[in-house]
Amino acid sequence: MGNTPIDMQLLNACAALLLLLSFAMLSQRRVVSLVNLLAMQGALLCIATLLLAWRTGNNHLYFSAALTLGLKVFLLPWLLHRLIRRLQVYWDTEPMLNIAGTMLVGLLIVVFAFGLAQPISALASTATRSAIGIAVAVILLAFLMMITRRKALSQVVGFLSMENGLFFGAMSATYGMPMVVELGVALDILVAMLVLGVFFFQIREQFDSLDLHHLERLREDK
Amino acid sequence: MNFSELATQVLEILAALAAAPLFLGWVNQCRAWLQNRSAPSLWLPYRSIRKLFYKDAVLAQNASALFRIAPYIVFGAMTVAAAIIPSMGTRMALSPVADAIALVGLFATARMFIALAAMDIGTAFGSLGARREMMVGFLAEPALLIIIFLASLLSATTALPAISEYLATQPLALHPSLAFTAVAFTMVLLAENARIPIDNPATHLELTMIHEALLLEYSARHLALMEWAAALKLFNYACIGFALFVPWGVATGNGPLQILVSIPVLALKLALAGAGLALIETLSAKLRVFRAPEFLATAFLFAVLGLLVHLLLGA
């Protein structure tokens, strides 16, 4: 790695940190911290995008970075914090699988993700191709997090983390999607968050809590 | 259809009508002798039929037309059956009209009408008799048909005269299969004609009777026809037996001489058969009604065994 340019080294560091953050989220039980970790993930993404934009001179990546900054670092975490305050949910209950177990499964997933990304990376011509595996790992870890969490809010955080992974994947594989699509995606996520916000209030109103075990009535094995 | 066939036909019908009560009388006489009783007259059946014809009829209040026409139909069916069975000659005018299967069908028709007529009045005995009669019938009929099948297989036809002719003209040979079926046939004959192991023709003991229960409500001419038809049925069965198992002596041509010869032969066969029947009746005891199916199942089994033996040995 000695002759890797500094910006690339930075990029790889960002990628590694993203993965680390994913693991951190997996083990985190405080909802507030989860949101903070999410925001940090967004920030890292933003930095990575900027680095990439600077390196490739791709103008629309600057725009993407700005979008990420606005949406994922400020707007969404802010919205989530607001929700947490309004809804008074600070702690997630014990996850389905204990933390150690989750981490172990997460590790296996990372191995799988790297294996998965191998053929893709081999074909990629981008400078960041080695990061594709990390993007896949982030996505799958977020998935895992959604599976193991019992609070609606932490599930949402997982969902957003998955979105981050996707964004990072797009970035590292193809230097981002076309502008219009990216805008559409961003808009969708924003709307999704708004809808979620409405949802939380409705759920809260109905059940007095955001615990997911209230939402287990519609089933077949009665 | 030439004249001699027609003549044979008419002769056979008349002979059957005339001889049937006589045969019945003969069986009764033999039975009485065998049982050490003083025998009734040989002509008693004629006399009782005549007596019945001269009486006023009493019909139950709710008897329908079916009740009244049934005796005629039964009598008609038995008469026509007699016309089909080659008792004396095998060349008869009506023989192409009905084969052995149709013969069984005719018997079944008669049975059905008797049973329906018995149910018509709505008495407990009538329907009981009808039920039992039909029970015996549905078990006896297949056995009879299997017996006839065997003969048909031997002779490759179902026409009774042709079977008889075939068997009569064959060189004398042992047919082990026929031995089985002969036993079966005897059993069917006993059952179908309300003879002893199944029914007692001489009893009105209510719990056991079959045939008499069917006729309980009949009187006078209707009863006479029914009794006559019953005698005809016995006669017919005997003749079927002759045609299948002892066809020798039957006229296989058209000559008047052959027919003339066949008359005493038939009389001899009838006399022997009557005696044999009486013997069987004397030697056996009346079965409970519930045992009747077993009896008939045995008959059926024998018939089938005969068939199998035939198929196995080709004889």
């Binding site: 998935f143 969490r149 | 709710n62 008469t79 299997i146 099948f149 297989l153 309980l216």
Partner: protein, 666 residues
């Protein structure tokens, strides 16, 4: 204008049936219009169809392609001799039934007359189209429409839970059967992937596949026909339907199954293998026997008839199986004989069973009772119905000189000469089968004595029966039509067989040597010397009867008195002392005990109000259908376990799916 061919005429008549049905919706509430006039028109249509069918019988095969259906598979229609025979059956039976129905439906019985009219005529039209269809799609459409329209007719009285259950069972089994038929067509096309029947005819199937196709067809058509063990719907659905519909279903619809089996076996499969025939033969025998034994213990008159239909369809399948065996072993003439016997039996059963069902309908209308234990003595109140039904009962009992006997006779003839089959074991089995057929036929006599005797003879078992009235003119006409058909088919078998022979010629390539002797004599195999002349037989019996009657009248006629019944001197006779339906069935229950599942409730000596109850039910229901039902339920429970309502589990499913698929893709 081009000349009308029989095929176009048939299509037009079938379309007319459809149009009549739709016309019923114009004034659905009007009984006079939708319930009477249109039904009479439908009867006329049926009569014309029968006429066209007879007219067309000798004509060469015709084909036509209709501009309907799937884009690549338009409806093909074809008329050949087999079709014509069944069209004749449909036309003949439906004429009588429609006339009867015109007088039958009353106000306030469930569905509106218009709806009934629509369903009824749609039913008829679909049956007609089943016969004409010459491609798998058209056939299936008609076949299922037939099932559907009859389902609606069965559930006319849908407020009764039992009837709904019956309808459900019926449609379910019909649908399962249809699926088997569909699979059968899928096999039959044999790699050409053309679903016209022509393609199937020319397809060369491997023997194993051909066998599978045959078995599938047997399952599919057997479900419709009511072969044991697929018969369970029949005794439920037939009693549930209004009587004209029962008549149509039992008399005509079941024959469509026979038609289908014949079409597939002899036409589409081409060269059946001889041992295939053993399957329908065996099943048919068992079905015949099973049906009649159960018929003997029924207490509901329509259920009794339904079981009797099972018996008769079994007999028809015996004929089909025998035909296959003979044909496959090269005994083509005997094959033709068996085939003709089966066809004849279908024709007979269509008429006589319709007659009997309509008779029960008339009784039902007059008394409101289906239970045999509450009927009796109706011959006095309803002479028309009673005497005409008697003809049907005698015919179905297989008594000469009526039609039921003819087909039985033909079948037995076929059985008897089976000894030419070059397989000695089969050779032995076949006469045994004949014994079973005869046993069933004899039992049918038992059943019919029970049926007729308990309903019409004796004294009324209920006081209300004295109010019963004979049926109306149209109903009488319908019954009369069918009864005449029974008699005609019974008396003129040679003519009928001459026509049925064309089918044998077409399907087997051989026909019976024409009976050269005379027109009144039935002698299908001249060299066998076996012959049957019902007309002369009838004349002989009638002659003897007339002569006897005359003699008695002339010489011995004495006074006739009416008095109370003698009954061995028992005086306090009442109607309840007659044999009941249960009592009449007792010997059968006793003899064939292993067939039934019997539940008895016996009183103890100390009971204040002693009650005796016995129910007889089908073992097959317990042995086959209930396990299937619980297996499905169990599987459903297993599937339901997957869905526990927890979103995390659901996410896990997605996750695992994703991982597995990715792993597969890698």
């Amino acid at each position: 204008m081009t000349s009308i061919s029989p095929l176009t005429a048939c299509l037009a008549l079938i379309a007319l049936w459809g149009a009549i049905g739709l016309a019923g919706l114009l004034r659905p509430a009007s009984l006079r219009f939708a319930g009477r006039a249109l039904f009479l028109l439908g009867a006329l249509c049926g009569l014309s169809l029968a006429g066209v069918a007879v007219w067309s019988l000798g004509m060469p095969t015709e084909r036509l392609v209709l501009p309907l259906g799937l884009p690549d598979l338009p409806f093909h229609v074809r008329r050949d001799a087999l079709t014509s025979v069944f069209l004749f059956l449909l036309g003949m039976a439906s004429t009588g039934i429609s006339i009867f129905a015109a007088g039958y439906f009353r106000k306030g019985t469930g569905a509106s007359p218009g709806l009934l009219c629509l369903q009824y005529h749609l039913f008829l039209a679909s049956m007609g189209f089943v016969l004409l269809a010459d491609d798998a799609y058209g056939f299936m459409v008609a076949w299922e429409t037939m099932a559907l329209s009859s389902y609606f007719l069965v559930t006319t009285q849908h407020r009764v839970a039992e009837i709904r259950r019956a309808g459900f069972l019926y449609l379910l089994i019909a649908h399962l059967g249809a699926m088997a038929i569909l699979l059968c067509f899928g096999v039959l096309q044999g790699g050409s992937w053309q679903f016209t029947f022509d393609a199937m005819r020319s397809a060369q199937l491997q023997p194993a596949w051909a066998t599978i196709a045959f078995l599938l067809a047997l399952f599919g058509f057997g479900a419709k026909a009511g072969l044991v063990p697929l018969h369970v719907w029949l005794p439920e659905a037939h009693p549930a339907a209004p009587s004209p519909v029962s008549a149509l279903m039992s008399g005509v619809m079941l024959k469509m199954a026979v038609y289908g089996a014949l079409r597939v076996t002899f036409d589409l499969l081409g060269e059946p293998v001889w041992w295939w025939g053993l399957v329908p033969l065996g099943i048919g025998l068992f079905t015949a026997f099973y049906g009649v034994v159960f018929a003997a213990v029924q207490t509901d008159m329509k259920r009794l008839l339904a079981y009797s239909s099972i018996e008769n369809i079994g007999v028809a399948f015996v004929g089909v199986g025998l035909a296959v065996v003979f044909f496959g072993t090269g005994l083509k003439v005997l094959g033709a004989l068996a085939l003709v016997a089966a066809l004849y039996h279908c024709l007979n059963h269509a008429l006589m069973k319709s007659l009997l069902f309509l008779g029960t309908g008339a009784v039902l209308h007059a008394t409101g009772e289906r239970n045999l234990g509450k009927l009796g003595g109706l011959i006095h109140r309803m002479p028309w119905v009673a005497w005409l039904t008697l003809i049907g009962a005698l015919a179905i009992a297989g008594l000469p000189p009526l039609n039921g006997f003819v087909s039985e006779w033909l079948l037995l003839q076929a059985f008897l000469f089976a000894d030419d089959i070059p397989h000695s074991f089969i050779n032995m089995l076949i006469p045994m089968s004949a014994a079973l057929v005869v046993l069933s036929a004899a039992l049918a006599g038992y059943v019919m004595v029970k049926f007729f005797g308990i309903i019409f003879l004796g004294t009324p078992r209920e006081a209300s029966l004295s109010q019963a009235r004979d049926c109306g003119k149209l109903e009488r006409l319908g019954l009369l039509w069918l009864a005449c058909g029974c008699v005609a088919l019974g008396l003129l078998p040679a003519q009928v067989i001459a026509h049925l022979n064309l089918v044998a010629e077409e399907l087997l390539g051989t026909s019976l040597p024409s009976s050269t002797s005379s027109w009144w004599l039935l002698a299908p195999l001249p060299e066998r010397q076996a012959s049957y002349g019902p007309l002369v037989l009838l004349m002989a019996v009638a002659g003897v009867v007339a002569l006897t009657f005359l003699c008695v009248r002339l010489f011995y006629h004495r006074r006739e008195r009416r008095g109370p019944a003698w009954d061995c001197g028992f005086v306090r006779l009442d109607a309840r002392m007659q044999d009941t339906a249960e009592g009449f069935g007792q010997p059968i229950r006793h003899i064939f005990q292993p067939f039934f599942r019997i539940e008895r409730e016996l009183p103890t000596p100390f009971d204040r109000a002693p009650r005796y109850r016995v129910t007889v039910s089908d073992r097959i229901w317990r042995a086959l259908y209930e396990p299937i039902g619980s297996a499905v339920q169990w599987l459903a429970d297993v599937c339901a376990f997957l869905q526990q309502g927890r979103i995390a589990i659901y996410l896990l499913y997605s996750f695992v799916t994703l991982i597995v698929l990715l792993a597969v893709m890698l």
